[in-house]
């Protein structure tokens, strides 16, 4: 078993980083309260994070994230070499559909967007690199719920918070959706994550059938209905190319 204390130090530091990323700069006292540690502990955690260049303390003694996080995020993205053809494939998808295209990967019961290409008409901003959708909502989330491994464990946490009047929130509703998504081979998000916005998502799977990610397009719900068949053809093509690239990259490494 890993020792307890280091985990706590790292977990508390992660909480500090999370709080700073959500709320901007904070005072050590505010951070102590948010993380739930005594002030002297908060000061030590902050000085540890400052010393490795992850946070910085300003002249007003407020703490904020170091701008190095911008570069760390780019490095983390670049290291995901299995997806390094995604930009071209997403651009082709936008070319074919004029919708906003997304590539997401499954992490901790969320679809985390790692690349996107904005559509011609409107940019759909609910997903963007670094933004997430829960597994129960949106095309990317529900694709991952249907084609991932642990859907029942996830459904045990239902009911979920409603995002729009159309959000599926109970385990039963989601079970039906999982079945339908598996049969169809794609998820159709009809205003269940954002009112007025629709999306289509398809899984990207390894040759062994393991879920690697999801490619999806989003736009006005009416367009998704009107052009569904054409969009699915383009999406299927993108999913196949992404899967091919991801598996050959994996083998080469």
């Amino acid at each position: 078993m890993p020792p307890r204390k280091p985990i706590r130090v790292l977990a508390n530091s992660t909480d500090i980083i999370q709080a700073l990323s959500e709320r901007g700069s904070l005072s050590p006292a505010e951070l102590a309260e948010i993380v739930g540690v005594p002030r002297p502990t908060a000061y030590r955690l902050i000085s540890g994070l400052n010393s490795v260049g992850l946070t910085e303390t300003g002249a007003d003694s407020r703490v904020s994230l170091n701008l190095r996080w911008l570069h760390l995020a780019d490095s983390a993205l670049a290291a995901m070499t299995e997806w390094n053809a995604s930009r071209e494939i997403l651009d082709d998808l936008v070319e074919a559909t004029e919708q906003t295209a997304f590539l997401s990967v499954p992490r901790e019961n969320e679809a985390v967007c790692i690349d996107w290409a904005p559509g011609r008409g409107i940019g759909v901003l609910i997903l963007k690199p670094g933004r997430t959708l829960p597994y129960y909502a949106g095309a990317a989330g529900r694709t991952m719920l249907a084609f991932g491994q642990e859907s029942e464990a996830y459904l045990a946490k239902a009911p979920f918070a409603r995002l729009t009047p159309s959000t599926l929130v109970t385990a039963d509703e989601l079970r039906v959706d999982i079945g339908r998504t598996r049969v169809l081979g794609y998820a159709f998000s009809d205003e269940d994550a954002t009112v007025g916005i629709g999306a289509l998502g398809m899984p990207i799977r390894s040759s062994a059938g393991q879920l690697l990610g999801c490619v999806s397009i989003g736009g006005l719900a009416g367009d998704m209905h009107a052009h569904r068949d054409d969009f699915l053809a383009a999406l299927g093509d993108a999913a196949r190319r992404l899967a091919e690239h991801a598996t050959t990259q994996g083998r080469r490494a």
Partner: protein
């Protein structure tokens, strides 16, 4: 009492975690053995550290067994930080300073398609030029700030825009210069690091502009100063130095690293 132990423990762990992050930031992917060497720890305790870091999402398995890379956590936090960065807010103190130290009007402009748009303006005390109020725009070939935006665009985009301006034959308030002249102006702007406009927008008015870059080295905006041509030209070296400082400070606030490659080059 036991608090003291906790301190050393915590600092020690954080410095090792920081070393792992820095190593992966540079290398992309590394094995546990390579990380152990870089952190200067036995492989067994490095494994424990890596397990911990994987648990909190800082690292994740890489493209093949036994290799690690930075976790999606970094992408999430970096994206949130990027969303919170506001170019206007980053530039505003510098615009005020420019206005204070030169007495002339300072501007912040973004590129929007084929035009440069004024998004911030601090009026000078002597002359109030009517051109480029907030929300006004100029074609990218006219005026100092638009020209700075034009000159520091990535080459492919710049060429596409040059083509599109030349193809455009309808009469305009600001006639399109010949391609030759325009290319020379852009080249000069890149070489000198600032754009220079003398009475090409308003008679009697000149302006200088410098480009602002974001953390990826992409062009984010241009900062400019405009005023009476004679006075401005007489004071050119000092104003340009102030503009360079303003652009460098604003770029640094956007995460631009000094010496990093600029996307246009």
């Amino acid at each position: 009492m036991s608090e003291e132990v906790d301190i050393d423990d915590g600092r020690d762990i954080m410095s090792k975690a920081g070393a792992v992050v820095a190593a992966l930031e540079t290398a992309g992917e590394l094995t546990a053995a390579q990380l152990a060497e870089l952190v200067d720890e036995p492989v067994s305790s490095t494994y424990r550290l890596l397990q911990n870091l994987a648990t909190i999402g800082w690292i994740e398995p890489g493209s093949s067994r036994g290799r690690f890379r930075l976790g999606v956590f970094f992408i999430r936090v970096g994206a949130q930080l990027e969303d919170s960065i506001d170019v206007r807010r980053a530039a505003l103190p510098e615009l005020r300073k420019l206005r204070g130290e030169t007495g002339w009007t300072s501007f912040l402009c973004y590129r929007r398609g084929r035009r440069g748009v004024c998004v911030e303006r601090i009026d000078g005390s002597n002359v109030r030029s009517l051109a480029m109020q907030i929300g006004d725009s100029l074609p990218l070939y006219a005026g100092a700030a638009p020209q700075a935006l034009f000159a520091f665009l990535p080459q492919a985009e710049q060429h596409a825009l040059l083509d599109s301006f030349q193809a455009d034959r309808e009469p305009r308030r600001f006639p399109v210069p010949s391609r030759d002249l325009l290319e020379r102006t852009l080249e000069k702007t890149r070489d000198h690091g600032y754009a220079r406009s003398v009475e090409d927008v308003t008679l009697g008015i000149a302006a200088f502009a410098t480009p602002v870059f974001n953390h990826r080295g992409e062009l984010a905006a241009a900062i400019s100063v405009s005023g009476l041509a004679n006075s401005l030209l007489a004071d050119e070296p000092r104003i340009v130095r102030l503009l360079r400082e303003a652009a460098a400070t604003t770029s640094a606030r956007l995460g631009f690293l000094e010496g990093a490659a600029v996307a246009a080059s």
